[in-house]
Symmetry: C2
Subunit: 221 residues, 2 copies
C-alpha cells in the first residue's frame, strides 16, 4: 500500500462535504442542506503526520473539524447514489483528517458571497493521519471519530450520523467533477467544532467496534 | 519544454483571481475588491486543446471568461508584492484559458454564502491553449486577450487593465498557500463575459505587440 507521503504527492484534489451531521449544522446556525454540497481544499494544505504544528495565520480564528477521509482508488464519474458496492470498490483506503477552518474568514466570505478557498486553504490546514487500510474499517458508516484539545474531548460521534452517506456523496461529487485515483474526499464533521490556538495540542482518533485504530491517530501541536 | 498533456497531469492546484478588471466587476454588479481574492478550480476541469466540447450541465447557464494563465515553475511562498522579478522568475510559461462558470449556480452560491467550487468545477470547465513559452510574452502586463462566440467578438482587452498586477496576485496567494511547480494561476477576466450554449463555437487568442501568438489559440465547440 502507498505511503502517506505518496498520498500527499499524488493528491490532485481534496473534496470536502459541508454540513453533513445534523448537530453540527445546528451549532453553526446553518441551514440543513437538501443535497450534499462540497468545496475544495488545495493539496498544499496537507500536513503529514509529525510534520509540525498547524500554523495560525495572523488575525485568524482557527477551528478544528475532525473528519473521516476517503482515498480514491479509481476514476469515478456519474456514480449512482444507491451504488454502495461501487462506492466501496472505488475507495482504496482511509485517513483521519482535521479540516482546519479560518472561521472568521469563512464567516466574512459567507456574508459577502465570496469563495471559501482562502478560509479553508492555508498551508498546514489539513493535518492527516497515516493511511488506514480498507480492511480495518469494514463499514465506513460505522466508525467512531473523536478529537480532543489539550486532552479535553471536544468531538466524539459515529459516522452513522451522516446526513448523506458515502455513496450519495461520491455520486453528487462525481456528477460535477470526475474523481481520480489519489483524490481525497472528506466526509464532513460531527458536532463540537471550536477554536484552537498556538500551544494547544489536538489529538484525534478513530474506533471501530470499540477498538482504537492505531494508524488513525493524529497528534498536532 | 513540457507538453500541455504533462501540464494537466502534473497540475495540483488551479488558483483563479476574481474581479481583477474594473469593467468586469461593474458588469456583474459586484463590489470592487480592496485586495485580490481567489478560488480553486479542480485540475479535473482542464480541457486540453482538441479534446472536445465544453459540456453544459443540465439547468446551467454557462458563461465564458477568457484569462491569461501562469504556469508556475517553482515553489513560491510569501512573495513580496513588489518583487516583480521574483514573480517573473517563478513563472515557467503561459497559457490562455477560459474560466467557464455556471453563472446561475454561482449566483445562488453567493446568495446563500456557499462555496463556489461546484459553479467553477465541472468537468471540461477549463479549456486551455497550448503552452506559450515565456519568451513570447516579454511583459505579461501588456498582452491583448480576445474571445469570440460564433465569430462575434465578445471580449477584447489588454492585461494592463488588471486591478492587481501579477506580483501582487502571487504575493497574496502565496501568503495563504504555497504555490508549487506545475500549479496554474488564472489572472482574471476582462469585461464582456456572457452565456454560451450547445452548438456555439468559442475562439480565443492572445496578441503581443499586435502579433498573434499561435500557441495561444483556443477553439472549442
Ligand atoms: Mg469540514
Ligand atoms: Mg470555494
Ligand atoms: Mg474568472
Amino acid at each position: 500500500m502507498a505511503s502517506i507521503q505518496s498520498i500527499r504527492a499524488n493528491c490532485r484534489k481534496v473534496m470536502c462535504i459541508g454540513r453533513n451531521y445534523a448537530d453540527h449544522v445546528k451549532e453553526l446556525n446553518n441551514q440543513r442542506p437538501k443535497q450534499p454540497f462540497f468545496f475544495l481544499k488545495p493539496p498544499s494544505s496537507i500536513l503529514l503526520p509529525g510534520a509540525g504544528p498547524v500554523l495560525r495565520p495572523k488575525g485568524v480564528t482557527m477551528h478544528y473539524e475532525v473528519e473521516l477521509g476517503l482515498i480514491m482508488g479509481k476514476t469515478v464519474k456519474d456514480l449512482h447514489p444507491d451504488d454502495t458496492q461501487g462506492a466501496l470498490d472505488a475507495i482504496k483506503g482511509y485517513i483521519l483528517a482535521i479540516d482546519m477552518t479560518a472561521r472568521n474568514v469563512q464567516d466574512e466570505a459567507k456574508k459577502k458571497g465570496l469563495p471559501w478557498s482562502i478560509a479553508k486553504g492555508f498551508d498546514t490546514f489539513l493535518p492527516i493521519s497515516n493511511l488506514i487500510s480498507k480492511s480495518l474499517i469494514p463499514d465506513p458508516q460505522n466508525a467512531h471519530l473523536w478529537l480532543s484539545v489539550n486532552d479535553q474531548m471536544k468531538q466524539a460521534d459515529n459516522t452513522d450520523l451522516m446526513l448523506f452517506r458515502i455513496p450519495r456523496q461520491l455520486s453528487d461529487i462525481s456528477r460535477v467533477m470526475t474523481l481520480e485515483e489519489g483524490d481525497i474526499v472528506l466526509t464532513g464533521t460531527p458536532k463540537g467544532v471550536g477554536p484552537v490556538g498556538t500551544g494547544d495540542v489536538m489529538r484525534a482518533g478513530l474506533k471501530v467496534d470499540g477498538r482504537d485504530i492505531e494508524e488513525a491517530r493524529i497528534e498536532v501541536p
